[in-house]
Amino acid sequence: MSRAQRNRLEAGGLVDRSQVLDFSFDGKRYRGHAGDTLASALLANGVRLVGRSFKYHRPRGIFSAGAEEPSALVELRDGGRREPNTRATVAELYDGLEATSQNRWPSLGLDVLSMNRLVAPFLGAGFYYKTFMWPAKAWEKLYEPFIRRAAGLGRAAEGTDPDHYEKATTFCDVLVIGAGPAGLMAALAAGRTGARVILADEDFLPGGRLNAEVHEIGGQQGAAYAAHVAAELASLPNVRVMTRTTVFGVYDGGTYGALEKVNDHLRVPSPFQPRHRFWRIVARRAVLAAGATERPIVFGGNDRPGVMLAGAVGTYVQRFAVRPGRHVALFANNDAAWRGMLAAQAAGANVEAIVDVRGDVASVLTEAAKAKDIRVFTGARVIATHGKKLRTIDVASAERGHERLYIDTLAVSGGWSPAVHLTCHHGGRPVWNEAVAAFVPGATPPGLSVAGAANGSFALGAILKEGAQQGAEAAEALGFPVPPLDVPHTSEESTALQPFWHVADSKGAAFVDLQNDVTAKDVGIAHREGFRSVEHLKRYTTLGMATDQGRTSNVTGLAIMAELTGASIAETGTTIFRPPYTPVSLGALAGHHRGKDFRPVRLTPTHEWAAKLGAVFVETGPWLRAQYFPRKGEKDWLETVTREVKAVRSSVGLIDVSTFGKIDLQGPDVGTFLDRVYINTFSTLAVGKARYGVMLREDGMVMDDGTTARLAPEHYVMTTTTANAAKVYQHLEFCLQVLWPELDVSLASVSEHWAQIAIAGPVARTVLSRVVDKDVDVSDAALPFMGAIEGTVMGGVKARLFRLSFSGELGYEIAVPARQGAKLAQALMEAGHEYGITPYGTEALGVMRIEKGHVSGNELSGQTTAGDLGLGRMASPKKDYIGRVMAGRAGLIDPDRPSLVGFKPADRTKRLRAGAHFLGLGAPADMAHDEGYMTSVAYSPHLGHWIGLGLLKGGAKRVGDRVRAYDPVRGEEFELEVCAPGFIDPQGERLRG
């Protein structure tokens, strides 16, 4: 049964009383209205205790009405949507909202860990640096689990988040950050020029303080005026108003990061809508109108539920029509807080006392207060508070001594801190402005100007004027003609304030940072122990850390430190702010790129065909390639792969190799160009021939390998490895555009255009001859080993035929336009049916290349030279090429460098493992005796045991030696025979058959 909203005012506010929303907190059901936040709805229902503090588990209530909230952190939702540490003050109320308090056990009312308060002397600043050091073992077993339990915030969701998230980019001329009075005027001024304007605000209702205070602007109520301006902005086609959108960071080139909470105001996102959207807003100019955050005064017992920022009290009364309590008092040092309290009184709050540290307060304020029967204490301080939830306060003044007041809501105001955060994102440091007793923006990011309270202008008239001016100037700077804009009239208001930070003679724990439980005493400890710079103060005490990033505590903390050191606040300085301004969901940063969509997947031309044959696929870079084609009855992949290899070696098999990079090179200088990028010579390659090539990086290491064929005098086609396709193309472009622009060479990637199928095995030629058109001669004479011709297949389909072999068998690669790839695979299957033609995958391909001793990605690791791989003799001594000079460095030609050899287990039943290290027989297993490692292993169906390739110190001259394979990861160690890296047909007779 829902209870009545006993603290809801009869009239006023910007909530829609006709819309009743049900919600629950810690299982109890309540009602609120559309337009409420969770915090305002809780207060309307008289709920004041909402959480326990981080370290001492002290009862905490609602402290603010905005993003600065340090205390009222709750868990929203459940299951995969559970969301810890949500600030109740910015959580928009929705029907069915379920919130629970956090960091309490067993319940919010009775928290056993509040005993922490009894050990508080040991939990002070820097306690983790000093305590629990001994005995060492107790840390893991005792201290850490205890601290983790005690000092937790909320619980993260355990299930998969069922919602989806998006990213988007938008562009504008002028971005206005914040839709308070300055932001509205800036957007209006810029919008009326015709410039593309984006106005972003984290709130769901534009207006900022105009919705939370009582003002008259041009004859209208402040809130009504805000609505009026927002409506005009919405009507302008060149203006986009983005509510529920927090600009959280300023990046390079006028790029701003923003988080739009598209569906947080609903229990479950609307179908097909994302929960959050991460925006990159690229703006030529920006106006920061983020307003200011009220700061508290530090005094004993200032953290009890019921102690609240004065502006928040005003906001709850004016915007949400909620009385935060029955008996309200104000403790302040400034005129604005008085005005807010008098307005709250007029709206129905029962304000009973105003305590001001100043001895001299303008009589217009004191008279107005007295006229409403509000007791006024000037030159006074609150020195203590009492009650689990606030019941009484003790006030001390020279005039009246000590007095106890029965107060359940104490509004506190120590002045205002401009929201300068975004101005710091390019390294700008805020500067102390004595006149307004606040840090105001220093250097701002390029293109960003600041208006209104964020700039330290606190009087409404000045704010409106500044906003309009900054908006107009931003548009004008971009060349938009600026029509005159009348800034509406508003009454003069005093912003008088006397800086005051800390009631030093108050009783009880006086909290500076409510979220991290950092007290004024902790600041003193930091000072005594020498952690006096603001950066040290922050790290040592944790002041200003966690979700609220010290919005209400930074300035008071450093002001107290300044008092202790005797330095001025300006000399003490402030920490600066990094993005994000408020927490950003990781889901939004990922957008749709999660799970298998983490990055795009590329499908080969034969993907569907292979899938129908039951292929198991493997991710190779972005590609999905057929890994092997299991058949019924095969017990594991090894059995399948062994069958595939045997079929190729004894008859014929086929594999899709379309994923190799393929680059067409045309022009009279291609030969010269290739001679410079490959270590071997290509200008002498005959038309109709292919050659294996190796290219180096500038540093002399191997970059890539592959075959390049000459199809015509001025037309070559290069293949690269799958992994390096893009890198090699980029490298060639760089060489042509930057190194040798004088060469007449055209480059075109044709990787996507051509499907390429390799067939291999003793009967490969017979099968091939059945798919080529009649006039195409594939005889050994017409198409010898390393031959390359163009022709047609399957009745007129253009094709490129290469006689190449990676497997060591008689082999061909047939390229056809990609959309004919699957058809070609099928045609080959039919042509080879009588020979039992077998489709094979990347595993069998790998086995055969290891048997043959060919290098691949495992060996082309970026740490190997051509010499290391046994390819050193390919390098032409007659020409220059990229990497030649650096490859000649002493360390790279050291004959003791690990280089490529083959391995067999001495005991042929042993399984080899890639990654195993080589050690001499009897040598100790340590780094000093390391002789290299195994790069690739396979079970060789040809030999009937495991074989491997590896890089061994001394390389080829060790053939015949024995070494140990040492694999501490798998706990294995056994003897190996070193052999030449070629386990099958070393003379290459099969290739030439």
């Binding site: 069922p162 919602d163 097909f272 749709h592 799970g595 795009p600 997947v601 959309r819």
Partner: protein
């Protein structure tokens, strides 16, 4: 898929298959209609010093006016997109021997490379196209900034694309053949809130 729920527009769609034609996302009149086509494509690269001559020859052959910026010139069944100085992608809906045609037109002024099977194009139309593309491209695609005929080569959802605005509410995106399924997934996810009708002609005809 196991890690997707019904709130995810990609729920239940295999990541390694071409999503079938049909309606996706919000019901009702779709905000975006996408259809794929497989035009004949060739890449033209001007030889050193011949860019002006290539522009001239293309103009005479196809009546396309080529600007000195990323630009799509559309004339009848032919679209010529300038993607870099002296670099043009030529698309034809009808000329099966586009490669031969271009070789004849350009002579030794340019090299021509066949690319017909390398690409698929997505014709994307509707009121919300620029909103959808903005979820992928870091390019100012606002219709007030990106005009009919403007073209750009960029990246959408980690996929390299060339896209151009072919009409007031129609856009065309050229995508590598192997990325067709992944790009379709981008469209399904990003257009979900507006509704998407996918007209997938598969590899049937040339568009």
């Amino acid at each position: 898929m196991a890690d997707r729920s019904s709130h995810d527009p990609l729920a239940g769609i295999a990541f390694d298959r071409l999503p079938p034609a049909g309606a996706y996302g919000a019901p009702g009149e779709p905000g975006v209609v996408a259809s794929t086509a497989e035009p004949f494509v060739a890449l033209v690269l001007a030889r050193p010093g011949k860019a002006a001559s290539v522009v001239d020859r293309l103009h005479r052959a196809f009546s396309v006016a080529l600007a000195d910026r990323p630009h799509a010139a559309i004339e009848g069944n032919t679209t010529v997109i300038g993607t870099a100085p002296g670099r043009f992608l030529v698309l034809s809906r009808t000329d099966a021997d586009l490669f031969g045609t271009l070789r004849a037109i350009l002579g030794t002024d340019a090299t021509v490379t066949e690319q017909s099977d390398g690409y698929v194009t997505f014709d994307v139309t509707g009121d919300r196209v620029s909103d959808v593309l903005a979820k992928g491209a870091l390019i100012d695609l606002d219709p007030v900034a990106f005009h009919v005929g403007d073209a750009v080569t960029t990246v959408i959802a980690h996929i390299g694309v060339t896209l151009w605005r072919s009409g007031e509410k129609s856009w065309r995106v050229l995508v590598g053949r192997s990325y067709e399924a992944s790009f379709t997934r981008f469209l399904i996810a990003s257009a979900a809130e507006y509704g998407l009708r996918l007209e997938n002609k598969g590899s049937e005809g040339r568009g």
